[in-house]
Amino acid sequence: MLKILIPTLMLFPTTWLVTPKWLWTTTTAQALIIATTSLTLLNWNSETGWTSSNPYLGTDPLSTPLLVLTCWLLPLMILASQNHISSEPISRQRTYITLLTSLQLFLIMAFGATEIILFYIMFEATLIPTLIIITRWGNQTERLNAGTYFLFYTLAGSLPLLVALLILQKELGSLSMLIIQYMQPAPLCTWADKIWWAACLIAFLVKMPLYGAHLWLPKAHVEAPIAGSMVLAAVLLKLGGYGMMRMIIMLEPTSKDLAYPFIILALWGIIMTGSICLRQTDLKSLIAYSSVSHMGLVVAGILIQTPWGFTGAIILMIAHGLASSALFCLANTNYERLHSRTLLLARGMQAVLPLMATWWFIANLANLALPPLPNLMGELVIITSMFNWSSWTIILTGGGTLITASYSLYMYLMTQRGPVSTSIMAIEPSHTREHLLMALHLIPIILLMLKPELMWGWCF
């Protein structure tokens, strides 16, 4: 862990001491080196879980893919922000990169934490840089509203979690995940116990987001600048999934009954948010609702607590992280040229920017879960597991798959096909930077097809 934490910490002096001309070059290079180093974490050659050299920071097959995804995303965020931030004064550029780096640091410590309280503190800590990025560098006036929704939804969910963790600490004496995995889960009989159960999970359900508590997501994703959208979609949502998987292991057996309303909400959310996607006029909003839809499937997969459910959840989290971030980058390439997110304004882009159309195509195919990409594999594993849990879910999950395909195709056809919009007379050609950004998103998804066992977690 230290070989990743220390270079990330040293990214702070790099950002502030390097000459302005070479700021983005050096930070990109350092972040990519950190990403390469993080690949060493994928080494898991025992059949038991945790790998740790000390009691406080360790990795296991659940946190490792998410850690690698986090480390991979920082250079991509830097690449994506380079253009729109370059017009600002240099100290503000450095501040921006510092915020991204601090977010990265908190996320690495969150995924690597073995104590649940450290995970909680880092979970909360990630809110602050994200809030600053959204409210300071967002482009529309709605960003203040978006920041407020984001902050207070997450806080309202996570303060009960703090109380629940303190109760757990008092009961069990320790909150180390290394120890708790061996403890007997206590039967939860009283009403207070049931509320404690809910308090453990609500923070993560809001973060994922679960359908009923999802309102912060479209606002935050849309109003955030590109780096904010990328990190929100790719990693911060997965913090919720990760937290849920950690907590839910020690929460059963009551979970079997208490989880019902949340599973139903999650499944219904897939259909509802998918349908909302078909009616969107705002491109980023469409991608944001698509994130809610995919995460609904992940929530359902986690809440049924079966091995395949967990495995499918991890696979879908990683694959969705890369695909969704890729789509936001593509939407940003449109936004930087047209300064609008309206779908109507960016029609027929394939005739104007044919190379970018290739990336649009592949990213949308990934989003609609085309085989053999891991997006499909994750969805299929979750759908199968849910079918085993209850045959009726196939109606909702099958319908959800259909709607996902519809809105992904809709997004592709609306932006790439059709007559070129007459309002776009002079568009800059695609930058090499943008092509590299898309390649660095989509090549890992394709490579993951070749070695999917990295994402299968400890259950499969």
């Binding site: 070059t25 990109t28 290079a29 990403a35 050659n45 025992s46 991979w72 380079q82 309206t342 990295l454």
Partner: protein, 149 residues
């Protein structure tokens, strides 16, 4: 919802004006003669979105080989080289090779081989392939019912 309509309406009005006047909406080059077509002038000054009073000039004008990284051509080329080298050559190629050659992830292939080996061995011995008891029940010594501590 209303804010979204408000955002779309100016675009629609630009749409109609554009088809009539045939003017450029995005790139506003300062010299119309070089562009060869009328520029947008004074239609809606609020929408120019200038930085410090300059018009939006494409960086391709000054640097035909702009890669999208930096306006200084030398830094731009170096940034591109560094990003591609560390991103593709190091991270994806070398990193990918490293990941490919990692040993048996989670010992899944070992588990399969071990299971096949044990099945073969047990079938050769004539023993049941799988037994419900992990420990041999005949070897477990239980205290008798009458004993108390």
């Amino acid at each position: 919802m209303a804010s979204r309509l408000v955002r779309i309406l100016p675009a629609w009005s630009r749409f109609r004006l554009g088809s009539v006047a045939g003017a450029r909406f995005v790139s506003q080059t300062p010299s119309p003669a070089a562009a060869g077509s009328p520029t947008v002038s004074g239609l809606s000054p609020a929408e120019h979105n200038d930085d410090h009073g300059h018009v939006e000039v494409s960086l391709y004008e000054k640097n035909r080989d702009f890669h999208g990284f930096h306006k200084d051509p030398q830094v731009d080329v170096w940034n591109m080289k560094v990003a591609f080298f560390f991103g593709i050559s190091v991270a994806i190629v070398i990193g990918g090779t490293f990941v490919h050659y990692l040993p048996d992830h989670g010992m899944r292939q070992w588990a399969r081989r071990e299971a096949e080996r044990l099945i073969k061995k047990r079938e050769a011995e004539g023993v049941a392939v799988l037994d419900g008891n992990y420990y041999d029940p005949s070897k477990i010594i239980l205290p008798s019912a009458g004993e108390e501590k």
